[in-house]
């Protein structure tokens, strides 16, 4: 495999930059999406659908919004914004974004899901992959962990924020609602949570399987400050994240319900639960890559 030249060499320039333009972010997002489909294709396994759908959020956070230091990686993250991925199955997008923001070599993406890799099928700290702070995969646990990390920040007088992403199907887990009750009660207002509301889960549409219903009403009833946005339109997503950051520190945790499309960016993968956990074949990969155009291609 060719070690990425352009992006690896320019990893530093991809470090968080508040001034980065939306066009730049779109270019990075297209590259991340290329990584995702190539990673899952290479091992014929993994979860492209949710990864593609959440690419814009992770790119916005890691390349513009968050203050973070990829190198050297510090588990405690004192003085840094933290991100937790609760729906760990979308590890491809997480790994791509971590690598491309400088946590580890972009070429290591080629080891995804392979034996002796730090890039486990679901994110883990066990192999000491920089950028991952807790294992996830068994659903429903990340919100609690993020709240704990946010409370640790308060104890440390650290005014940076904690971000966490959950899937919408994941909200069927009971622990989410234990955490949802806890955070407003304890005024954990340095926490900004996102729900990837793509409306799909493994067995079909969320409304058919779990009946998530009115999530805004549910979280508002639990005393969260709720925002809604389009998770696949950076022009809308970025101002919403900015608003969420501004609303923090006011006694309430923030919940951003983010409408997305599973498989966003690859037309034949979009809007269906079919691509939750299926890898593209050679032909499908070619088709996908043709749609994911980057001006300065920097595939790993």
């Amino acid at each position: 495999m060719a070690q990425d030249s352009s992006f690896a060499a320019s990893a530093e320039t991809h470090a968080p930059t508040p001034t980065r333009s939306v066009d730049d972010l779109k270019q990075i997002a297209a590259q991340v999406r290329r990584d995702i489909v190539r990673m899952v294709h290479a091992v014929n396994s993994g979860h492209p659908g949710g990864s593609l759908g959440c690419t814009d959020l992770l790119v916005a956070l890691y390349f513009k919004v968050m203050k973070h230091t990829p190198e050297p990686f510090d588990m405690n993250g004192i003085g840094q914004d933290l991100f937790f991925l609760s729906n760990g199955h979308i590890s491809p997008v997480f790994y791509s974004v971590l690598a491309r923001s400088g946590y580890f070599p972009v070429g290591e993406l080629a080891t995804f899901r392979k034996l002796n890799s730090r890039l486990q099928g679901h994110p883990a700290t066990h192999e000491h992959l920089p950028g991952v702070r807790v294992a996830s995969g068994s659903l429903g646990q990340g919100l609690s962990v993020a709240i704990g990390a946010a409370q640790a920040k308060k104890l440390n007088n650290d005014d940076r924020k904690v971000f966490v992403l959950m899937g919408d199907g994941e909200l069927e887990e009971g622990q989410i609602w234990e955490a949802a009750m806890y955070a407003p009660h304890h005024k954990v207002d340095n926490l900004i949570a996102f729900v990837d509301r793509n409306g799909q889960q493994i067995d079909g549409p969320t409304e058919k399987i779990g009946g998530l219903g009115d999530l805004r009403a549910k979280f508002e009833a639990f005393n969260w400050r709720v925002l809604e946005t389009d998770g696949n339109d950076l022009e809308k997503l970025l101002p919403t994240i900015e608003e969420a950051v501004q609303l923090s520190g006011q006694g309430q945790p923030i919940m951003v319900l983010m409408d997305t499309q599973m498989g966003y960016g690859v037309d034949f993968m979009m809007g269906s639960h079919k691509w939750h956990g299926v890898a593209p074949n050679d032909e499908q990969l070619e088709k996908a890559l043709q749609q994911l155009v980057v001006e300065k291609a920097g595939d790993y």
């Binding site: 993250g77 646990q141 609690s144 962990v145 709240i147 640790a152 622990q175 234990e178 806890y182």
Partner: protein, 318 residues
């Protein structure tokens, strides 16, 4: 048989509370979480001294384990408190993924373990917790025997990096170990040197083993009695030395045979030094309501049961 004088009986959970209070004074990184059982876990003193370092989670144990994992990110040393049943079985996957697999420095502190919880009955009398916790890679499992030892263990684990399961109980039991003891994780303690049989006991059964030692002495049997307060990592060296001397072994614990201390020692012996072994433990059964003493008698966890096991194992010794 050595004498083990004591001036008072106390509950091990109060030893936890005292240790936690001490840590509140000495270690600013220690934080505590509780799932609506402050009084039962004796956490009041810590909370009074350090209200900002205590998190009342409510009846939401899964969330508590996740919060604890998160609090370590930022350098805190979280001590979670609830009953042993709700500290383990109820939250096994949270402990497995967010704490053990993630290598988080969380201290899972579990009261009301075993049958001696008493009248509340089997829903609350967990007898499988040691097994569940010791199966998790890198999890340390500790079951101290009295108030002083539980206090010392609580203090010690704050400086012991990695996830720890600390198990203690509800009833008052003789407080006979030294108040000034230094607790060493993974180091068994020889209470009585003997030559005829090795009795390895943990938790509340340590005192029962001492009582059994006295009964055995009256029968002319010189028992070696060893307190194995740490089930994992197991003090293999001490156990093998004693077993090689006495040539027969009895284990005693307030837990199922499957997965408990006896199971760990049996595995060690069969690999290193196959010798006859008898287990004093609950034999594939749930508990029930009753007083602690009634239950320990009915389920064969008292000094008479240990004496019977010793006689049986000595008869099997070649």
């Amino acid at each position: 048989m050595k004498d083990f004088p004591y001036t008072e009986s106390k509950d091990t959970r109060s030893g936890f509370g005292a240790g936690l209070q001490e840590l509140g004074k000495t270690n600013p990184n220690v934080v505590a979480l509780c799932a609506d059982l402050i009084g039962s876990l004796k956490m009041d003193a810590f909370i009074k001294d350090n209200p900002e370092r205590f998190f009342q989670v409510g009846i939401a144990e899964a969330n508590m384990m996740g919060l604890a994992a998160g609090l370590t990110i930022g350098g805190k040393i979280p001590f979670t408190g609830t009953f042993a049943n709700f500290s383990t079985g109820r939250v096994y996957d949270q402990i497995r993924q967010s704490i053990a697999y993630s290598g988080k420095n969380v201290k899972i502190c579990a009261s009301h373990a075993g049958l001696t919880l008493g009248e509340d009955g089997a829903t609350h009398q967990i007898l499988e917790d040691i097994g569940m916790m010791k199966m998790l890679p890198h999890m340390t499992v500790i079951n101290p025997c009295d108030y002083n030892q539980t206090k010392a263990a609580t203090i010690a684990i704050a400086d012991y990096e990695g996830p720890v399961y600390l198990r203690f109980g509800r009833p008052v039991v003789p407080n006979f170990t030294p108040a000034d003891q230094k607790f060493e994780v993974g180091k068994g303690i020889v209470l009585n040197e003997g030559t005829d049989v090795s009795i390895f006991a943990t938790g509340h059964l340590v005192w029962k083993a001492i009582l059994a030692g006295k009964l055995l002495a009256e029968k002319g049997i010189n028992a070696e009695i060893i307190n194995i307060h740490t089930i994992k990592p197991l003090d293999a060296q001490l156990i093998l030395e004693s077993a090689r001397k006495t040539r027969c072994v009895v284990t005693a614990e307030e837990h199922q045979m499957n997965g408990g201390l006896g199971d760990s020692i049996a595995q060690l012996l069969i690999r290193e030094e196959p010798l006859p072994l008898e287990m004093v433990a609950v034999n594939d059964s749930f508990g029930e309501s009753g007083t602690p003493d009634q239950l320990m008698e009915k389920y064969g966890l008292n000094e008479q049961a240990i004496v019977a096991a010793v006689e049986k194992v000595m008869a099997r010794r070649k």
